[in-house]
């Protein structure tokens, strides 16, 4: 059986699926089909209609990864969403009107399609990844009683695609349809197995770089930066259009990694590179922070509502409105910044630097190898975490824990950066312990920062004469966060002891110098 790409929504039906690509030697036309089917069957086709098909997924392809495909079909009769679960012969369909993409799943009409999609896509927006028009003639295969045996779709030949026929038997008529299919096969239209059209978007994940310990360190740095720059560029349109919150999140993660590598790689870089770019990249980080912070609050609102005991979710309405207002203002600043000449210069200048550093010879670089830089960077980052952690006791102010969290992030990025040359098992164990510690520190700091922010919001709400209930609800949130922070603080000693135990030190040594 031949295989060929075919839009899945055009062939998935209630029964057996069959498709016929255009035979090489004879065109697939209504006349050719009628001639092949002899006197036992009759076929009828209506006039062609244009169907617009759009393939939808999230930017990070959550549906595709789970084996689903989602399509928005429009023809003169109306519009519908078609969701094809993995391995299903029967798609879920839902009529839609005036659907605009990108859209969050909450914007879709209630029903089985939305219920199926919601846990898969969560907070990511559905967007169009590919779209095309098909000229389709709908028809029927009938017997001598003029009973319909199968529904037919003749997808007419286009510039870049051959003509197709899909045959979808009615229930109870599989045998008759198979007989007709055999006649078509004998006439030179062999069945093929439809496979989904490959989507054209690039992979958005970060690829692992392959490199040796003895390779110049600058090569690894440039490769990692190039990946992060690509991620930033890929996410930028989604940030500007405010498609969903995760575009900004992914943009910031790539930026943070870029900045960390700038610090970690300082010894291997020409001096002016770090000095020149650290301030600009910090500016970019600061530009994106306010919106992200507000996103975290907005995304967390349903969870926060669950913290309330005396107050109810409705009491957070004033806070939600306040958040939206602040976010709108922060986004205006962000978009202005991202459309500014400074931003354009930062991005293009940074790309130029990467191109320069990648070109032989590596300029005024130090000549350090990847192995040497790994030894220095991982060792230094590890020592900074251990020293910082050892200084913390019950009386240590919160700032010291915040600072330790930053050091942990640096170590994490160092472990990621040098992953291509490091022992996988050792790295996995170190990262597991480090994640544990980061989680405790993260909860501690997030609760601390959120408490302060909620105080500020509550103050503004009070000045704006917000209802008492709304202020009391804010008090409950602060109280919950305070308890959370205390819990995290209580878990610190155990997490740090686990991270800094001798076995961890041994593994770090292995990661620094290799086997």
């Amino acid at each position: 059986m031949r295989r060929s790409s075919f839009p899945p929504y055009l062939v998935v039906g209630q029964g057996q699926l069959l498709g016929f690509p255009e035979a090489d030697e004879s065109p697939l036309t209504v006349e050719a089909l009628a001639a092949a089917l002899t006197d036992d069957f009759a076929i009828e086709f209506g006039p062609p209609s244009v169907v617009h098909g759009a393939d939808l997924d999230t930017f990070d392809r959550r549906l595709g990864a789970a084996g689903f495909s989602l399509h928005h079909l429009s023809d003169p009769a109306g519009q519908q969403l078609v969701l094809i679960p993995p391995g299903a012969h029967a798609p879920l369909t839902m009529p839609v009107t005036n659907a605009h993409w990108p859209a969050l799943v909450t914007a879709l009409p209630a029903g089985a399609v939305r219920d199926e999609l919601a846990p898969l896509v969560t907070i990511r927006a559905l967007m169009v990844l590919d779209e095309r028009d098909h000229r389709i003639r709908h028809g029927e295969l009938r017997n001598e009683d003029q009973k319909i045996l199968a529904r037919l779709q003749l997808i007419e030949q286009a510039a870049d695609a051959p003509a197709w026929l899909s045959v979808n038997p009615l229930r109870g008529y599989g045998g008759d349809t198979r007989r007709a299919v055999r006649l078509l096969t004998a006439a030179g239209f062999p069945p093929i197995r439809p496979v989904q059209v490959a989507l054209t978007r690039n992979d958005t994940g970060v690829r692992q770089v392959r490199i040796e310990r003895s390779a110049p360190a600058i090569t690894l740095l440039v490769a990692a930066w190039s990946e992060h720059l690509a991620v930033m560029r890929a996410n930028l349109p989604g940030v500007l259009d405010d498609v969903d919150t995760e575009f900004l999140h992914d943009f910031r993660v790539a930026l943070r990694r870029t900045r960390s590598i700038l610090k970690l790689g300082r010894a291997a870089l020409p001096k002016d590179v770090s000095d020149r770019w650290e301030p600009d990249l910090k500016w970019l980080g600061d530009l994106t922070t306010p919106v992200r912070d507000l996103d975290v609050y907005e995304l967390g609102l349903p969870e926060m509502a669950g913290w309330l005991k005396a107050a109810g979710p409705a009491d957070l309405q004033t806070f939600a409105v306040q958040l939206r207002r602040h976010r709108s203002a922060a986004r205006r600043t962000l978009v202005r910044g991202l459309r500014s000449a400074r931003f354009r210069n930062v991005l293009s200048g940074w790309a130029d630097v990467l191109a320069d550093l990648a070109g032989p010879p590596p300029g005024q670089a130090s000549g350090l190898t990847v192995g040497e830089l790994a030894n220095r960077s991982i060792g230094r980052a590890y020592r900074r975490v251990v020293r910082g952690g050892a200084d913390i006791d019950q009386g240590t102010p919160a700032e010291a824990l915040h600072s330790l969290r930053k050091r942990c992030k640096e170590l994490r990025y160092a472990l990621e950066l040098f992953a291509p040359i490091s022992d996988r098992a050792a790295r996995k164990r170190v990262v597991a312990d480090l994640k544990d510690l980061q989680d405790v520190l993260g909860r501690f700091q997030d609760a601390d920062v959120q408490k302060q922010t909620l105080y500020r919001f509550a103050e503004q709400m009070r000045e704006a004469h917000a209802p008492t209930k709304a202020l009391l609800a804010m008090g409950e949130l602060v109280s919950h966060l305070d308890a959370d922070q205390q819990r995290a603080r209580g878990e610190f000693d155990r997490a740090f002891a686990r991270f800094s135990r001798p076995a961890g030190r041994t593994r770090i040594r292995l990661l620094r110098v290799g086997r």
Partner: protein, 245 residues
């Protein structure tokens, strides 16, 4: 799943045309619908252009465990499937008599499809028999077409009595006048007499119309080939009046 049986002791009163048209209307409004043609004459089967052929006959379905799902035929109309009849159905009484729980067998078989359909229509043969008893027990609603004749009231009374005596599940009974001809004085009189506040008689009257007779020629439900005809409107009104909620 709701089960509606088109039933009358008498033949030629419009059971099949009612079953075909109402099943079509149910499917058209989005209900997953099945019509089981129980009449060995297989008129409903014919009207949907399906061949009157049941593999293994009714015996295979009733006594040999052949699943109903294996005998289903999709009609030309979306959401509407048919269980066809063939001449072997003339022995259905005898075959039911050979089964355990002989008055509940049809209901048991229908319940195997409860996840697949919202509405099941039964087009019944004209008789009082074991098949009829099965239909009573399986149905939520008996739809009784009545020709406006002097004996109609007696027929309806006999039927409601039969339902009351059947024990077990007692379906609701809703009769309606079918093949009514207002030019006939007798029809007008019977309709006037019986319609007045009779709890079992629907307000909708389906007249004798040539377009309904054309179903046999067109082999399709009236609302499908003549959607604006008076007959189609009458069936829509009837469906609106009796459809289970």
């Amino acid at each position: 799943m709701k089960v509606l049986a088109m039933y009358n002791i008498k033949g030629g009163v419009g059971k099949t045309t009612t079953a075909v048209n109402l099943a079509y209307l149910a499917a058209r409004e989005g209900q997953r619908t099945l019509l089981w043609d129980l009449d060995p004459q297989a008129a409903a089967t014919f009207l949907f252009r399906v061949r009157p052929r049941v593999k293994g006959g009714s015996r295979a379905l009733l006594t040999r465990g052949r699943p109903l799902a294996a005998a289903l035929k999709e009609t030309d109309f979306e959401g509407l499937d048919l269980l066809p009849a063939d001449f072997s159905y003339r022995n259905m009484d005898l075959e039911l008599d050979d089964t355990k729980k002989r008055t509940r067998k049809l209901g048991q078989l229908i319940s195997t499809l409860s996840g697949d359909y919202d509405m099941v229509f039964l087009d019944c043969p004209p008789s009082i028999s074991l098949v009829s008893e099965n239909v009573m027990r399986a149905s939520d609603l008996l739809v009784v077409p009545l020709i406006p004749a002097t004996l109609s009231l007696r027929t309806l009374d006999q039927l409601t009595g039969f339902v009351a005596d059947a024990g077990g599940n007692q379906p609701q009974v809703k009769a309606f006048f079918s093949m009514a001809d207002r030019r006939k004085r007798l029809h007008r009189q019977v309709i006037a007499t019986l319609s007045a506040d009779h709890p079992h008689v629907a307000r909708t009257i389906v007249p004798a119309l040539s377009i309904i007779e054309q179903m046999a020629e067109r082999r399709a439900p009236v609302p499908a080939f003549a959607p604006r005809s008076r007959a189609a409107i009458c069936y829509e009104q009837l469906w609106a009046e009796i459809r289970p909620t």
